[in-house]
Amino acid sequence: MESLGVLLPIPMNAYLESELDRRYKVFRLWESPPERRQDFIRANAAAIRAVVGNSKAGADADTIDALPRLEIVACFSVGLDKVDLAKCRERGIRVTNTPDVLTDDVADLAIGLAIAVLRRLCQADRFVRSGAWLSKGGYKLTTRFSGKTIGIIGLGRIGLAVAKRAEAFGCPISYYSRSEKPNTNYKYYSNLIDLAANCHVLVVACPLTEETYHIVNREVLDALGPKGVLVNIGRGPHVDEPELVAALREGRLGGAGLDVFEQEPDVPEELFGMENVVLVPHVGSGTNETRNAMADLVIGNLEAHVMNKPLLTPVV
């Protein structure tokens, strides 16, 4: 049987790449200069039967059209916003992602960001490192995370994991979702503005789709308010970023912990000078343990496909 040809659009993970190299014929798109990439794809289209995507690059309509032998898109992420799912369904192309293995890390980071913002942890660290403790006396008072009402947008795997952790801090939990979830004691809001108005920390934990694009807009930010904190561990485009920056600048929003941005790796520089924000470079699943587990899942899905066995974590 012909070795599976796998298109890798960007570097993702050394372990993943070495495992792909061991088994398959890997086509590394980034090794061609940008202006030659269409040619590269055309030249190798006959061999490419799989694409490995992630949060930055996947399989959009043009890519799918250019790969007539494409059979499977295996995402090195749980998010599928870079994959044209409708087109995949239309073409009978399978799609897999990496749920569950990254849930803990992403939820841990959400809580870590909330605590860091409310308790000014990074600022305090900077304060000590600068020597200011010696000259300026103690760092100022902040506000506790424990007991604050947490509002979660999207009560899926990650949303539930965030809730479970926040509960251990005595935080009441409420959520907004497309529909109310059975079997939870959490307070459901059918309207996101109402959720934002009634919580202290708002966590974005839903998938990015056309419906959830800019779901956190000016109205939601204003409802969250001058003492409210936004934590985004979803996707940058969930939040209207210019509105977010304006709300922070004008004091209409209390603070933000952000793992994702609309135009990664570019982050609005105005945020760099703000002490009520914590900015991290899309590290939600960024641990050795989890990335290895994600890579194993990608390989596992590709292997299952090659062997005609049931896929491990199919979405399409």
Partner: protein
């Protein structure tokens, strides 16, 4: 207005005197002024001993703010003192023996700050493992577009957490970290059968079976440098130490050596042996290395005003 327990012999209209040796926060000042006549040593041009001799001869109550040391010599200067209250949970800055000998009652902040301290310990641990502060610096310096993705951190879930001191703070830490999937064990002066955690009979034993040590016990003669070289060696080169107790619970010089030699996985420190001095060698430790140091006046919430939550 005096409370119902007005000391005998005083006119009811006279508020009891309360001695302060360090300035309180405004909100605390306001609350106290309503009930006490405040004697504020720092507002006097006199050196402290002269101030006390002149003004504090009859003062019966002292409020300790900012961990001011209360020892024999100070107590000698306050012959009428009956009561010392500290705004902290810790009492290591107060000579309890001397107070007992003189029949002086001592009160602390009890468990009022336990949740704050516990959540800060969790915040520090996530910061160390997931490099939150280091990442924040990286992004603010504009390095993400220039240098690409930040190196990977380490997963919190599944890390064995050993709590040194399972008191109010320690138990609140345990409750939180369980929810992150961390198995919890502890070393404490006595077993706590009401908790479902594994007990180890010494800090070194605990360290040998832990990936993370959270230090949350009181500082006493017995616990000075309880986290010593042996404990650090037992914890191992990938181990993490989180200290939200007192600086002197940890042999700081030894810790610094290990950090510099890469013989410890990382440390999240809210307290230091010689505050506000922090070993400068630690400041250079950045990116790639999981070290976070945080000043902590926000832990020393002086007092919880009756109204706002300080936010």
């Amino acid at each position: 207005m005096a409370s119902s327990s007005v000391p005998q012999g005083r006119p009811e209209t006279e508020r009891p005197q309360l001695l302060l040796l360090r300035p309180p926060l405004a909100a605390l000042d306001e609350v106290l002024s309503g009930r006490f006549e405040l004697l504020k040593s720092w507002e006097s041009p006199l050196p402290l001993d002269r101030f006390l001799a002149t003004h504090a001869a009859n003062v019966r109550a002292l409020l300790v703010i900012d961990l001011f040391t209360v020892d024999g010599p100070l107590l000698d200067a306050l012959p009428a003192l009956r009561f010392v209250c500290t705004t902290s949970a810790g009492v290591n800055h107060i000579d309890l023996g001397e107070c007992a000998r003189r029949g002086i009652a001592v009160a602390n902040a009890g468990t009022v700050f336990s949740q704050e301290v516990a959540e800060y310990a969790v915040g520090l641990l996530i910061d160390v493992l997931r490099r939150v502060s280091a990442c924040d610096r990286y992004v603010r310096r504009g390095l993400w577009p220039r240098r690409g993705d930040y190196p990977l951190g380490s997963k919190l879930g599944g890390k064995r957490v050993g709590i040194v001191g399972l008191g109010s703070i320690g138990s609140e830490v345990a409750k939180r970290l369980r929810a992150f999937g961390c198995p919890i064990s502890y070393f404490s002066r006595s077993r706590k059968p009401q908790f479902p955690y594994a007990y180890f009979p010494s800090a070194a034993d605990l360290a040998a079976h832990s990936d993370v040590l959270v230090v949350a016990c009181a500082l006493t003669h017995e616990t000075h440098h309880i986290i010593d070289r042996d404990v650090m060696a037992a914890l191992g080169k990938d181990g993490i130490i989180i200290n939200v107790g007192r600086g002197a619970l940890v042999d700081e010089a030894e810790l610094v050596k290990r950090v510099m030699r890469g013989e410890i996985g990382g440390a999240g420190l809210d307290v230091f042996e010689h505050e506000p001095a922090v070993p400068e060698e630690l400041f250079g430790v950045d990116n790639g290395s999981a070290f976070t140091s945080c000043g902590h006046a926000n832990i020393r919430v002086v007092f919880r005003p009756l109204s706002a939550d300080g936010g």
